[in-house]
Structure formats: C-alpha cells, structure tokens
Amino acid sequence: MSAHTVWTAIRNSLRAIRNGEFLLRVRADKLYMHILYLFLLMWLTIMLSLQVDKTLTVAGANKAAIEELKIHHAEKEAALVKLRSASGMEERLEKMGSKATLPKEPATRIKRR
C-alpha cells in the first residue's frame, strides 16, 4: 500500500466525517446491532464493576464493624472476668457493708435421681 493510497483514504474519511456520511460510507448500518450490543456490554461491564466496588466497600465497612465488635467483646470479657475473682468479690461485699463472705464450708449438692 502506497503512501498516496493511505493519504487518500484519510482525506476521504475526514471529508465523510465533515459531511456526516462516515458511518454510511463504511456501511455501519449493517453492524448496527453489533454496535448496540457492544455498547450494552460496555455499559454492563462498567455497571458491574461499580457494583463490585460498592459491594466491596460495604464488605470492608462490615469487616471493620466486626473487628470493632470483637474488640468490644474482648474488653467486656476482661471486665466481667475481673468481677468474678473471689478476692474482688469479697472486697466489693465489704465495701457494700455486707456480712456475706466467701464460703467457709463446701456447698451441699442435691443429688439427682
């Protein structure tokens, strides 16, 4: 293909674009459905990509929320466990003016039949 041929093709194309005849000149009407399909695919791709981003953003936020709940759980667990210590219990009872102390005798269990 010579340079002249290429130049002629470019010139004709530019003229056709200027005259609004480009798609007709290349007979794009035959490919109309394909072009529509292509646009549909592109739109779908973009939409799906945005949806994936959105889902991942929600998933990230949920993950952060779960992590936060785990931290809350650990902190609460530590606080509750602290309350269960025998010496802590006795101290609190004493502070409250209670006469109750830790057991001096073992508990008596009722035997199940």
Binding site: L50, V52, D53, L56, T57, A59, G60, E68, K70, I71, H72, A74, E75, E77, A78, A79, V81, K82, R84, S85, A86, S87, L102, P103, K104, E105, P106, A107, T108, R109, I110, K111, R112, R113
Partner: protein, 638 residues
C-alpha cells in the same frame, strides 16, 4: 591511486574523526553540566507538584493485616491474658491555621478556639487528670508554637475513644478537627497481678514466662492484601492481586486454677503484708496425680521493705538455694527405701546431740534428753522435732562408707538437674557430691539436713509430690493444651519423671510427715479442715559478697545479721493426697528469724481451708428423700 592521494585521504579521514569526537565531547560535557546543574537544582530548590506525584503513585497499596495474639486461659477457660487494641490520642494543633491566616479570617480562627475550649472541658470531664484550662492552654500553646503532635491521652479503650471522637472539634475528623488516633495492640490481664510472673510478657527483647515460651503458638501469622481506591475515595480490596489472610494465634490453656491462685495469693499477702522483714514469698500448688500446677505465686518487694508486694520475679523457678530441713525427707526416703530404716520407731543413741567428725552439737537433743531423760530417740521423733543430729547420725552411719549411694538417690529424685519445664529458666541445682570441689568430710551430714545441696522450690515441690503420688514423681507442667477457636489442636499429657520409691516407702514417709503436723514443728496445721502431711524447713541463706561486707561467715554480715527462709511443704488430704503445696518466705538481711512452722504454715492452713470450701471434690451430696411440689402462682397459666 598514487601514494600522495592515499596520504591525503587518510588525513581527511582523521580530520573527520577528530571533528566528530570533538562534537561528541562537547555534547557529553554539556550533558554532564546539565546533570550537575539538575542535581544542584533538585537538592536546593526543586518542588514537585503534588498532582504530578499523584500520577506516579501506585493505584494499589499493600495493607498488612496483623494477627490477633492468642489468649492464655486458666484450666476452666477463664482468660488470664487477652489481646485488644488500646488507643493513643494526639492532636494537630495547627490544623486549618494557615488556611484561616491566608484568608485573613479572624472570625473562623476565633470560632476554632471556642470549639477548642469546649473540647478542653469535655476532655477534662472525661479523663479528670487535668483541668479544662490546662487542656485549653496546652492546645493554644501548641497552636501558637506549631505543634502538630500534642499528646492528649494514652492507652484508652474503644468505648472511651468513641466518646472522645464525638467531642466538639474532634467530631470534625482529622483534617478539620486535628484528632490523630494511633492504635496499638496491648495485652489485657483481667486479674491484674495474679500469676503475672507465670503468664509473663513479650515486649521487644524482654521475654518472660508462658508468653515467651509459647510465643510461637500465640503470635499467629500476619497476612496482607492489596487495596485500591474507588471513585468515591473508599479503599477496597484489589481483586486482581494476591491475598494472604492473617492467621490469629492459638490459645494456650494452662493448668492454673484461678480460684486457687487467688486464694494462695491472698493468703500469702495476708501473712507477709504487715511484716516488713519479709522480702518475698512464694506458693506452689501442684496436683499430686498429674503434676499439673494449679497455682504459682511469686510475690516480692523491691530492694526496700517500703515497696509494695508484686509479682516481680519467678522465685519458684530461679531461687536456687539451700532449703534446710525440708530436705531431711530426702534422707529419710532414701534410708527407708534402702531398708536402713525399717520402721520409724527404730531408735538411735542421742550422744548429747553430737556426731563426731567436725559437726556442730544439736541443742534440740539436749532439750529432748532433759525433758524425757532418755538416751535414745526414735527416727520418727527426730523427724518431728527436725533434729539435725538425728539425720547427720543416720547419714554417717548408713552412707558414711558409700556416700555415692545417697547421692545416687538425690539424682534419682531429679534434685541434681534442671529438668525440662514449660517456662524456661529453671535453676540448675548445685550438689556437693564426692569428687567435687565443694565436698568435705562433713558434706554428707550437712546434706542430710539440707545444707550443701542447693535446689529450687520447684524441685522440692516436685519431690514431695512424688511421695504424695505414692512414689511416681510426675513432671510438673503448666500448659495442658493448645487450642484454636475452642478446639484442642495439641494436648499435653502428664508424664512421669521417675519412680522414686515403692508404695510402702511412700506410705511410711507420709506417716512421718503427718506426725510432723500432729506432734512436730507444724502443729499450726493440726486443725486444718483437710488433714495435711508435710515438713517445715528453716534455712539460712548464703550472703552475697556485698552483703557479707568482709565477714568470713557466709551466712552472717559483720553485724551478725542474716537472711533466712522459712518453708512448709506437704500435701493434703494426707490419707489420699490430691494436692501438694509449698510455701516459702524469704527475709531481708536482719536479726530476725522466720520459721517454716510459723508464717508459711499459717498461709498453708488458710489455703487448705479455702480449697476445702471451694473444691467440688469435698462437696457433700444431699440425697433426695421427698418430692418437691411444682410451684405455681395464682395467676400462672397451667
């Protein structure tokens, strides 16, 4: 071609090459100069437009996901150490200052300062460590001085952080309110100081206790993922890249019983808290049949009596020392096992408490002679009153010709080696056996009553546990399993260190230990709610050269002061031993003496009584004799 024209061509070629080379040289020179100038320019005054920088910045960033460190649990699953992040709050005091100045907006600046005052009030109310004015002055001073990192508060939990983030100014976020939050993973110990020396810690290069020894199980494995920014500036995972998920650390379930630990800690504190002469105290409670350690308390003061009791060092494992009379049981066990002492009622002459060969006279024997008028004494009574003479005599009489026989026993009781343990650092015993530098003609006799052999308290407790377990000496252990999400992935079973004696020998020695409590040096335990068998021991501690201050006596300083330790070690219930217990108190350098039959025995009694009340083993069953009617209220539907 003539020779002349050939020469002419050569000259022209050379000229051309010269010209090309000249121009190339010039080009390189200019390029060099340009590079040099560019270097100077970049170093001195080059400014990169942030927009340009953004174009070069990768669209994905690597995000490291840190694993959560595993928990350390008590035997019933209660957490002893858990991980959770704590937060440090800082403030960029200069936030929006330049913006306000450039726009000359004094009203906005004043409004910012008003919010800072409100913030100060909230901070003061929340933390109660400074007044609102102090907070405000610090913030304004920071704003005037250009402080971008003013420390507001450290180590706060998540709830507090959320409240602080809702305060005026801070609620506007980092770019407008100047709040900077830094999270750091911290270990939380719900029981504060309880068993802290056993639990240990890992902090940079400092590594102690279970945290250090089981770090490979606890720390987990970090993961990473690549994240990219979305159109609405959120960071999401980049699905086109690799993801390695973090693996959280495994949990360690220990053998420790929190209630026992608490009881032991409290009982020991009660005995030594008010006594300024006591430097430290320890308690070990071990399960007889398995060797599982149910409590290990290590309380000590600092260098001065004024410092509070705290779990500072693991004395149970590391305090290698002469244990005194509690080692008489070692001698008795060997004698009974070898058949030298066939019955505890066997007698030996009293000889005014004097064994020939350079030994000191035992004044207890003189008292005994005076009180009873007898010139012989039973092995049992010698053990009850903890007579050094009796045990020196027995050792010299039966092992004098073959001392190695007695030391073979000592080694078979694992008292001559640092056996493997779940926490590293178990002290290595020092045994002055025949052939070593420390051996002399009196070493056999002194070893028989606990001097000349240095072991750790854990060695002593393990030995007594062997007697409690009828001759099967169990290896003490602290970790029973490694777990992942509540599922056991590794189980540590009890193991036997050695079979140290026959069942009959163990029963005989148990009888002797019981008589120490009933009629001997540990009568303070006589009325305990569970029958206790055990031995007291009082030992003088070898002083350091600094403490000795020139004195030639290794146990006394020039002012006659000494350091001693009092121990009670035994097991309960004596008839069917379930737990072995050891309590030792260590004194400061002083003129006072602390005996194993006093503070340690009192602590043991309190511990035994409380374990009796709490252990389900000792609960009584009430057999149902009638039928309890179904309770109904009047309004209740059937």
């Amino acid at each position: 071609m003539s020779k002349k024209s050939e020469i002419q061509d050569t000259i022209e070629n050379r000229d051309r090459i010269h010209v090309v080379m000249f121009f190339l040289g010039i080009v390189f020179l200019v390029l060099g100069g340009f590079i040099l100038a560019k270097v100077v320019h970049i170093q001195a005054s080059y400014y990169v437009d942030p927009k340009v920088v953004n174009l070069f910045r990768p669209t994905s960033q690597r995000h490291v996901e840190e694993p959560v460190r595993g928990r350390i649990l008590a035997t019933d699953g209660r957490p002893l150490a858990i991980s959770a992040p704590l937060y440090d709050i800082y403030m960029d005091c200069t936030i929006r200052k330049r913006d306000f100045e450039e726009r000359g907006n004094k009203e906005a600046e004043q409004e910012w300062r008003n919010k800072a005052r409100e913030l100060s009030t909230c901070l003061s109310n929340e933390f109660r460590d400074k007044s609102a004015d102090q907070y405000y002055n610090a913030i304004i001073r920071g704003r005037d001085n250009g402080s971008k990192y003013l420390s507001i508060q450290k180590n706060i939990d998540l709830n507090t952080l959320r409240r602080v983030q809702a305060f005026p100014l801070f609620r506007e976020g980092g770019y407008r309110g100047g709040i900077i939050v830094e999270a750091h993973e911290e270990r939380i110990y719900p029981y504060d100081s309880l068993a802290r020396r056993v639990i240990g810690y890992v902090k940079d290069t400092l590594r102690r206790g279970l945290e250090a020894n089981f770090d490979y199980e606890l720390h987990g494995k970090a993961g990473y993922e690549w994240r990219r920014v979305t159109d609405d500036n959120s960071w999401i995972r980049d699905l086109d890249s690799n993801v390695v998920h973090a693996v959280d650390g495994n949990d360690i379930r220990t053998t420790l019983n929190v209630d026992f630990q608490d009881i032991a800690d409290r009982a020991l504190r009660k005995q030594i808290n008010e006594n300024d002469g006591i430097r430290a105290g320890i308690v070990v409670i071990m399960e007889a049949q398995t060797g599982a350690i149910r409590a290990m308390v290590n309380l000590s003061r600092g260098n001065t009596p004024q410092t509070t009791l705290w779990e500072r060092e693991n004395l149970v494992l590391r305090e290698v020392g002469e244990q005194g009379s509690v080692m008489k049981t070692v001698t008795l066990l060997s004698l009974v096992e070898d058949g030298h002492v066939k019955t505890l009622e066997q007698t030996l002459p009293t000889n005014n408490g004097f064994v020939p060969g350079g030994y000191r006279q035992d004044v207890h024997i003189l008292d005994y002679q005076r009180e009873t008028g007898r010139r012989d004494i039973t092995v049992m009574h010698g053990f009850e009153i903890s007579s050094n003479y009796v045990f020196t005599w027995l050792a010299e009489n039966y092992y004098g010709n073959r001392p190695q026989e007695m030391f073979d026993h000592i080694y078979s009781y694992r008292l001559g080696e640092a056996f493997d343990f779940d926490i590293s650092g178990l002290g290595t015993p020092v045994v002055n056996r025949p052939g070593t530098a420390g051996w002399s003609k009196t070493t056999l006799g002194t070893t028989a009553y606990g001097y000349g052999i240095s072991v750790t308290p854990l060695h002593v407790a393990t030995f007594y546990n062997g007697i409690a377990n009828k001759g099967r000496m169990m290896k003490p252990y602290l970790v029973e399993s490694v777990e992942k999400d509540g599922r056991v992935i590794k189980q540590y079973e009890p193991s036997v260190l050695n079979n140290i004696c026959s069942r009959n020998t163990a029963d005989t020695v148990t009888r002797a230990l019981r008589s120490v409590v009933m009629d001997g040096t540990a009568t303070r335990l006589k009325g305990a709610k569970l029958s206790v068998a055990g031995k007291t021991g009082t030992a003088q501690v070898v002083l350091t050269p600094a403490e000795r201050a020139g004195s030639t006596d290794p146990y006394h300083d020039p002012r006659g002061r000494k350091k001693n330790q009092g121990t009670f070690v035994g097991f309960f219930p004596a008839e069917d031993p379930k737990y072995t217990i050891l309590v030792t108190v260590y004194s400061y350098l002083s003129g006072q003496s602390f005996y194993g039959g006093t503070l340690p025995a009192l602590a043991v009694r309190e511990i035994v009584d409380q374990i009796y009340a709490l252990d389900p083993e000792y609960q009584q069953e009430l057999h149902r004799t009638g039928t309890v009617p179904v309770m109904k209220t009047e309004t209740a539907e059937p």
